[in-house]
Assembly symmetry: C2
Homo-oligomer: 215 residues x 2
DNA sequence: TAGATTGTTAATCGATTAACAATC
DNA sequence: TAGATTGTTAATCGATTAACAATC
């Protein structure tokens, strides 16, 4: 995985939730929003919100806050969500199908051009307009459509094998939804989405909350 | 959301990936595994792995490493993954269905007893043996089956409304897969699984990798 | 024994939070 | 104007990393 230093991973992770709040404000027709307000909405500290927003280069106005439209623009630009990324889904199971259906991603530059599956009975069908193709068409699709991102939603057992194929045909970014630590060359970006991590945190929180309420 | 101090969230999040590596070792019939080895496998620093494992109370043996079976046991105990948690899935769409199918969770104490959906045509069907019920059956199911956890995979627009219902019928833990910040009483644990965060990080990484390779 | 690995204590690093002047 | 909010600089906190003695 490429090892470029990212300025503050935690901050980047919080920006989408800010965007969500700000967009709700925009729908309400508000022109300005303050960091304090965003913080209250998300149960964060206002200083944290201000620091995070400063990353995007936005400049606010004392007393008023930030111009809503400009702030949305600044966050999207910082996250590179205003540019289009062509993507494929590899593994057209339920998770892959769910991701294809997320308008959230589509609205922020992720354009899924095709899904791929090993199951012959799925091939030829479409999921919300996205065709399911055979793995034999992988290389041609990636080349012809200029695909840069592969979303990997296959069973763990086939994850590394498919990863190798993807890297071999020129994919440079993989969103990995399997629990396998993928081995890739240095120039390939891998983002692992780890649901087990979330379950671990949830489980520990639940256990602590039980002992706390017993006390 | 209940605010119990958790010792080192980042460490807790890493433990499942360690478990994954260690279990692969166990399948290979190995009796001991060193922190160094786990670290190499996951491209982490061995000192970090050792520190994280120390949380679980496991004691290793110099030169040999950690006893595989004991280590698995220690991690599962620390994460409270050896205890059973009855759960329901609220929103039987593709994401909910995908989660029901994750044997990973089932193997670690999460027992999904039912799914719920507002769509009448889905009600009465089963997903991998899990029945899809009407929301009218929510309260009775939670009470009769001793459900503690609700996995929320509904459209964002209905998230808060369903959350309120869930809290009202005694649910004390919610795994929130929507992008809505849920408002809950203090005694309720909420774990938000934020795919947009992941997409933000991925997008920024991809952008940086492009500028880096141009340089 | 020699050498790899653990576990502990200390040092470093980075993120969060606090304080406050500047602004409108 | 008074007061809320920004943006900057400094302080604190917590997590990661380093160093190294103890161990088998």
């Amino acid at each position: 995985m490429l090892n470029v230093k990212l300025s503050s991973l935690p901050s980047i992770k919080r920006l989408p939730s800010y965007l969500h709040v700000i967009e709700a404000f925009q729908r309400d027709g508000r022109e300005y929003i303050s960091g304090t307000l965003i913080a209250d909405e998300l149960e964060l500290e206002s200083i944290q919100v201000r620091k995070d927003l400063a990353l995007t280069g936005i400049v606010g106005r004392p007393r008023l806050g930030f111009h809503v439209a400009m702030l949305i623009e600044a966050i999207n630009r910082y996250l590179d969500w205003h540019n289009n990324h062509r993507a494929i889904v590899v593994g057209a199971g339920h998770l892959g199908t769910a991701l294809i259906g997320y308008s959230e991603f589509a609205r922020h530059g992720m354009q899924i051009v095709a899904a791929f599956d090993a199951n012959p009975s799925k091939i030829g069908q479409t999921l919300m307009g996205v065709p399911i193709l055979s793995l034999l068409d992988l290389a041609a699709t990636v080349e012809q459509q200029g695909v840069e991102l592969a979303i990997l939603t296959v069973p763990s057992a086939s994850a590394q094998e498919l990863c190798d194929i993807l890297v071999g045909i020129g994919i440079t970014a993989i969103w990995n939804f399997t629990n396998v630590k993928l081995k890739v060359p240095k120039h390939v970006v891998v983002q692992k989405e780890d649901l087990s991590s979330g379950y671990a945190v949830l489980s520990v929180k639940m256990a602590k909350s039980k002992t706390a309420s017993r006390a």
